[in-house]
């Protein structure tokens, strides 16, 4: 156990801090906000490109993909420096973290060149087409069908919750290619450009506003997709899902730790009750950092333990929810104004920090629902960590 990082990791951090000091966008430039998770304002496109060119966008990648072959611990301090400044590397986070990452792991050379690199360089944006009306927590039961026809696949079906689809250039789409195989073994992954005939995107509002548009329904009617757009092997889509989401899960806890740490700055307790609640917030933030760094140390040794990450996701997402509810309460009737900027703002962050406390609280439910609901996490812990028998 140690409280500090080794000198080589600290040297890496210092180099990144130096880069940030020289290249950080100015707040006056960052006035233009993104309207969805696949909409990158011009200043942020430039910022992402600067990071890509300098090898700081995804430091774990090789240089041709915006990195410098950094170790896991170096990637960790890199993310800590970004979060300390409430800075997003990209305003198309799923494009970077899931779609480009999947293409680099499972894609062909041409797919990396034609899709991954443009996503990483902020020339295009991407959305993730996984969930369907009948396939949420039970993702493997998805029914969108892709049938081979000559050099193409013909896709029919419907996706939902496809964040940012209406602003995205391409959707990484999970489709059923073998309806007769067991449900996990008949799934494949296709890159579907959103301007393909037969693709219809219908964004719909959140509870915050009919104009708060990130969710989409995506209808696919006889969409012809070149077979060259198949990512990974035919019927091996479940491996792609686990690979790309597995990488995401290793670091997912960090976004919750960052929100909790931001809240320790944004919340100033003024009564005994608020001090009591602040203590819980500070303890949760510290505990999550500690547990996360333990998981990271394990992963760095090659002993990744995916089920154990469920405890981090559960603790992190529920703590954020509790803490934002308390912050909303502390703001009192002032927090009724909507839309309003009743909470501290973070112009460099893609998240909706610029909004009010009610928005921040409402958004905490993304943490307890998306990426496996809290109920699913509890079941994973009970079954796969604690070894309780299945029902």
């Amino acid at each position: 156990m140690q409280l500090t990082f080794d000198a080589d990791v600290e040297a890496f951090r210092a180099e990144f801090v130096d880069f940030l000091d020289k290249n950080l966008p100015r707040e006056s430039e960052a006035t233009q906000r993104s309207r969805s998770s696949a909409d990158i304002p011009p200043w942020a496109r430039h910022w992402q490109r600067v990071q890509f060119d300098a090898g700081w966008l995804l430091p774990g990648n090789p240089p041709e993909y915006g990195g410098r072959n950094a170790t896991l611990l170096e990637q960790y301090v890199h993310q800590m420096e970004l979060s300390r400044r409430r800075l997003s590397a990209s305003f198309n986070p799923q494009g970077l973290g899931i779609i480009a990452a999947s293409l680099l792991s499972f894609g062909t050379a041409a797919q990396k060149r034609d899709w991954a690199v443009p996503i990483l360089r902020a020339e295009i944006t991407a959305a993730l087409g996984m969930s369907e009306p009948g396939a949420g927590s039970d993702l493997a039961s998805l029914r969108t069908r892709a049938q081979r026809d000559g050099e193409d696949f013909v896709v029919n079906g419907q996706k939902i919750w496809t964040s940012g689809a209406h602003d995205a250039d391409v959707i990484l789409t999970f489709v059923r290619t073998d309806p007769d195989a067991p449900k996990h073994r008949g799934i494949s992954v296709l890159l579907i450009p959103t301007d393909t005939p037969g693709v219809t995107r219908r964004p719909f509002g959140t509870l915050l506003s009919p104009n708060d548009l990130d969710f989409n329904e995506v209808f696919l009617d006889d969409v012809r997709v070149p077979a060259a757009n198949l990512v990974g092997d035919l019927n091996q889509g479940w491996a792609v899902a686990n690979g790309s989401l597995g990488h995401e899960r290793t670091l997912l806890w960090m976004s919750f730790a960052e929100r909790l740490e931001d809240l320790t700055d944004d919340v100033q307790p003024t009564s005994a009750l608020e001090r009591d609640r602040f203590a819980t917030l500070a303890m949760d933030a510290q505990a999550l950092r500690l547990l996360g760094s333990e998981a990271l140390a394990r992963a760095a040794r090659g002993e990744a333990d995916t089920p154990s990450l469920s405890a981090l996701k559960l603790l992190g997402s529920e703590s954020v929810q509790t803490a934002t509810e308390w912050a909303l309460e502390a703001a009192g009737a002032d927090a009724l104004a909507h839309p309003a900027r009743t909470a501290p703002e973070s112009p460099f962050h893609h998240d909706s920090y610029g909004a009010g406390w009610f928005s921040r609280y409402a958004h905490s439910f993304a943490g307890t629902i998306a990426g496996g609901t809290s109920e699913i996490q509890r079941d994973i812990i009970a079954g796969r960590v604690l070894g309780l028998p299945r029902g």
Binding site: M1, A272, Q286, A382, L388
Partner: protein, 332 residues
């Protein structure tokens, strides 16, 4: 920050667990509770293993590992009081193999010539009735007195294995050479962290027993651990435990490295252990059904140790009330 045990620490944990499974089985704890059996042989084993020698604060993580395992075994010896309450207050007076305790409040010191005179009564002194030496905290500093100078009465408490005593000092004269540490603050952090780790161990024991029960107890033709209502309680207990354990070892690490966050970390450790205890006690007891309510079931010893720990040295709520201020002081 790299927050995982190194190989030596993992070995210490495994060794402690194995030794205590043999030397401190549930049957011994029950024998102590029911028949007043002497835990002396276990105390000597602890000495032979070198655990009483873990007195350097730099070894706080190692001491913590031992304390967690002892908590899990519901240790009937005076190790907790000796190693985390007395020794940090009076490191130079510690005697190998001799139990010792700390009197943390209730005693006043009056200057008298070259020395002081100590008087007063303290209740709730952990292992005060079986200590050879007492470290007495007063406004004038910490003094070390032989227990023979005090009037000591064991107080019956709900944890039948725990020793708690009332200690009275009447005009006990001490000299300037009987002093412990100048500042009892750092010693308090060790005491809090040690108690937190003991509680984490006791909670782990409750959890282990409850999980075994949930796997084996069958109702409606299936193990009760297959019911979602039970599974989700178990998941919540797991999260509370890993959170409390992480914060307790973080406190141990800040003590070992004399990090400026140690006051904050110790308060967090004790608060989180108290919160963990609250949840694990409730769910653990509940999952056993009526069987948990019997004298015969060994879960009672761990339940009581965890609950007793929560009540000593400040409750979770008392520590939470200090954390906001400590947090802002530590993050300036």
């Amino acid at each position: 920050m790299l927050f995982e045990f190194d190989s030596d620490q993992r070995l210490l944990r495994d060794t402690a667990r194995d030794v205590l499974a043999k030397e401190c089985p549930p049957a011994l704890v029950r024998d102590v509770a029911e028949n007043g059996a002497d835990p002396g042989p276990l105390w000597r084993t602890i000495g032979e293993l070198g655990w009483t020698g873990l007195t350097d604060p730099a070894e706080m993580v190692e001491l913590g590992i031992v304390l967690e395992e002892l908590g899990r075994a519901v240790d009937p010896t005076p190790f907790l009081a000796t190693s985390t309450q007395f020794t940090p207050l009076a490191p130079d007076a510690a005697l190998a193999g001799r139990p010792a305790a700390a009197v943390l409040a209730g005693i006043t010191a009056r200057r008298d010539g070259e020395g002081w005179v100590l008087s007063g009564t303290a209740s709730g002194v952990l292992d005060g009735d079986r200590a050879a030496l007492l470290a007495v905290v007063t406004d004038a500093g910490v003094f070390v007195v032989p227990a023979s100078a005090a009037a000591v009465t064991r107080t019956p408490v709900f944890d039948p294995v725990l020793h708690v005593a009332e200690v009275s000092l009447t005009e006990v004269r001490v000299s300037g050479s009987d002093r412990g540490v100048a500042d009892p603050g750092p010693a308090r952090e060790i005491a809090l962290t040690g108690l937190a780790l003991t509680m984490v161990g006791a909670c782990q024991r409750i959890f282990d027993l409850a999980l075994d029960h949930a796997r084996t107890r069958r109702q409606f033709g299936v193990p009760i651990g297959s019911f979602q209502a039970v599974r989700h309680k178990a998941a919540d207990m797991h999260v509370a435990l890993v959170r409390a354990r992480a914060l307790a070892y973080f406190a141990a690490l800040t003590i070992a490295e004399n990090d400026p966050r140690r006051r904050l970390a110790a308060a967090m450790a004790k608060a989180a252990a108290g919160e963990c205890q609250s949840l694990v006690f409730r769910h653990g007891f509940q999952l056993f059904g009526a069987m948990g309510f019997t004298w015969e079931n060994d879960v009672q010893f761990a339940l009581k140790r965890a609950k007793a720990g929560a009540l000593m040295l400040g409750t979770a709520a008392e520590h939470r009330s200090m954390i906001a201020e400590e947090f802002h002081a530590a993050h300036l």
